[in-house]
Assembly symmetry: D2
Homo-oligomer: 228 residues x 4
């Protein structure tokens, strides 16, 4: 299990495939006898596939994670429509008081609408932000529990909970789609709080499919430099 | 434009196709000369398709909506992965103080984890819930604006905002997928707040594709009765 | 490896998950502590999910097959758009002379456009069909090889090959999508030649995920009876 | 209607959206009042989206085509899984004798497995290929019709038909996915016979969404040059 943010978690629950799955998927094009096929990972072939946009051989490996993250992170995550999800529901269950508090403040970066930069942890700004977020979130959870105690339906009481409330979900996807997720979310443009999850996923993929991970990362960096 | 909930909106922005698109899609199976084809909507054929699970002819009609709804409704909506979405972003823009307050309280239904039932609008319970939700949401927006005024990054300040905050998005999908959305969300199992959006979408579809809408609804009700 | 048709093959190459994956996916809704979760397959829960159309928990198990089948079977197969495919290419490789010859003739069923029924193997009709298909396919492969020997591009020479030529592919998909494949293809409406592949896949799924397979099959049979 | 190859056709049957749909999709991020929005196509914004991989705003425009093409072209086409298809069926209908004959021979390009180059139309090689393909295809259709006259089921008789037999289908997809189709199929790597359809589709898109078409094409050419 990997700890992420102040109370988040990431666990690789299950997986299928390896660099060999990529090679096997590609080799069938020229009819290499597949079912008995026992080859070696072939870096040159994997590089050829990546450079030429032949992405389908990267779809036969699958990774399933358990994720605990703030709702606003889950909101960005679930815009990725090729994954399979099951999430904790505030309709079925009273949500535990767990919310994300950043370790310092972040300020806007002039001239870049989607960037922000950290200030020192020991600073007035950081104290102010951390106190405000903690106090407002605690107050929201207090009101939430009060409504539930008063007999209000869970699905209604939860409306006051803030988007930094932690949620939990299972997410399954193939390697190609995970790498696309990393391209968008393990990126300077991505908000810090989802980027740290993307980094943790990248570490898992790099360990499980080292050749494919490295090659697809290179190609992605190459296009970004080209376009940027 | 359709008003939904206290401050929500739904607008059909664009659409393509009609009951005829379904018939045309089906007719190509037996090679009716398609490009010049000018037929009539054929209820018997549409019924045959629906009863036998031949759903692909329902995919050639497309509907695009503008939606303004609470975040917790958008969260359920965006689990539907076959639609195309663009949503307002709290990273790019300071969010206006708009949040959903229900018109009365709802209580749990014993023995049904996902149901709730309304109590009278003029009641202590309703006053309590409406006041609590209004007060907590206002306080959250106040803290949000204070942080932004103090120079904190928008993407951080928004963490205190509650899930009843209104968001806005564009969503495009084909008729088959919209009908599947209605099957799950215009349903007794669905939370009231998303059901009213599903109803409004159902009215648009019923007007634009009356035969297909009626037939698919009948078949869906049939299966539910059978399984339920 | 399972033999299918006269020269076809089906091999389960890799898989991930089990009935437990379904239960785990569903349990997260009410926040059962997931990463450490070690439960038992829960038939009642699986049945509840299937009866109420909660299909997403069935998406976390994945099955990857190697398939060798006639092109006209692959054509129907690849209309299923949720799977990942890699197929042998007649552009990269000279195709071996392997084509499907049915073991007897089939005649149309009056009043049913998409049905056919077998005649006896030892009959004039069966001899006629088997001879015609064998002769025409052999002649096509002869012309194909002649063109390639004469130096014509493979991608052009292959144009004469018949749709009963065997092709090979790798296909990966999740359990939910495989069950939908079976619903359409392991069905009286499906052509015999794809149905036998669907049956073989059904046997694999029934062994790997016995509870889920049985329950989803029951529900599917129920709806068909209802609508049919 | 556009004529493609010797007997192929391409017709834009229906469409929804324009360059404005892209701009509208993007503008909602910063909450421009969307339903009443009447802006101008904004080239700078479209360029920004394309350069930064923000592709979702390109999904709200939809194009529906009628296509008549050889089966081997349809086979490559239908590997694109984001489109909606309905195709003529040899199970429902006796297929008319229409098959593709190239206008000249093509020879392999040494050192490039997937390329081929035309020889002169007036040449022994071209005569040989055109005659062989014409003769073999005619013979296959003759055997096909004989089997059907003899009372054999259509779905069985068709097994002898070659992959250059013309088929017909309806295909609907959004602009983003059509541009991805063009990236792979309107490309030097693609077989000539699908490239000419991709070119014809490119002309339609260029007319309907000129800014988006031009900008996405530039970005795509840029990445190819970089990686190639």
């Amino acid at each position: 299990m990997t700890r992420v943010l102040d109370k988040g978690e990431l666990v690789l629950v299950d997986s299928m495939g390896s660099d060999l799955s990529v090679v096997q998927g590609a080799r069938i094009s020229n009819g290499a006898a597949i079912p008995d096929w026992r080859g070696a990972p072939d870096e040159k072939l994997i590089r050829f596939l990546a450079m030429n946009g032949h992405m389908s051989p990267f779809e036969h490996a699958t990774f399933k994670f358990y994720i605990k993250c703030p709702i606003f992170v889950a909101r960005e995550w679930m815009r990725h429509r090729t994954f399979s999800y099951n999430e904790m529901s505030g309709r079925y269950k009273e949500l535990p008081e767990e919310f994300y508090v950043p370790s310092a403040a972040r300020l806007p970066v002039p001239g870049n609408k989607q960037s922000s930069e950290w200030v020192e942890e020991d600073s007035t700004a950081s104290d102010y932000v951390m106190n405000t977020i903690t106090n407002m979130s605690s107050a929201a959870f207090f009101a939430y529990r009060q409504m539930i105690k008063a007999g209000i339906a869970r699905e209604m009481a939860r409306m006051v909970l803030p988007v930094n409330t932690y949620t939990e979900f299972i997410v399954t996807g193939n390697f190609r789609n995970w790498m696309h997720f990393l391209e968008l979310r393990n990126s300077d443009d991505a908000q810090y709080e989802i980027r740290v999850y993307a980094e943790a996923i990248g570490e898992v993929l790099a360990e499980k499919m080292p050749l494919s991970y490295e090659v697809l990362n290179e190609v992605s960096r190459g296009s970004k430099k080209k376009n940027g």
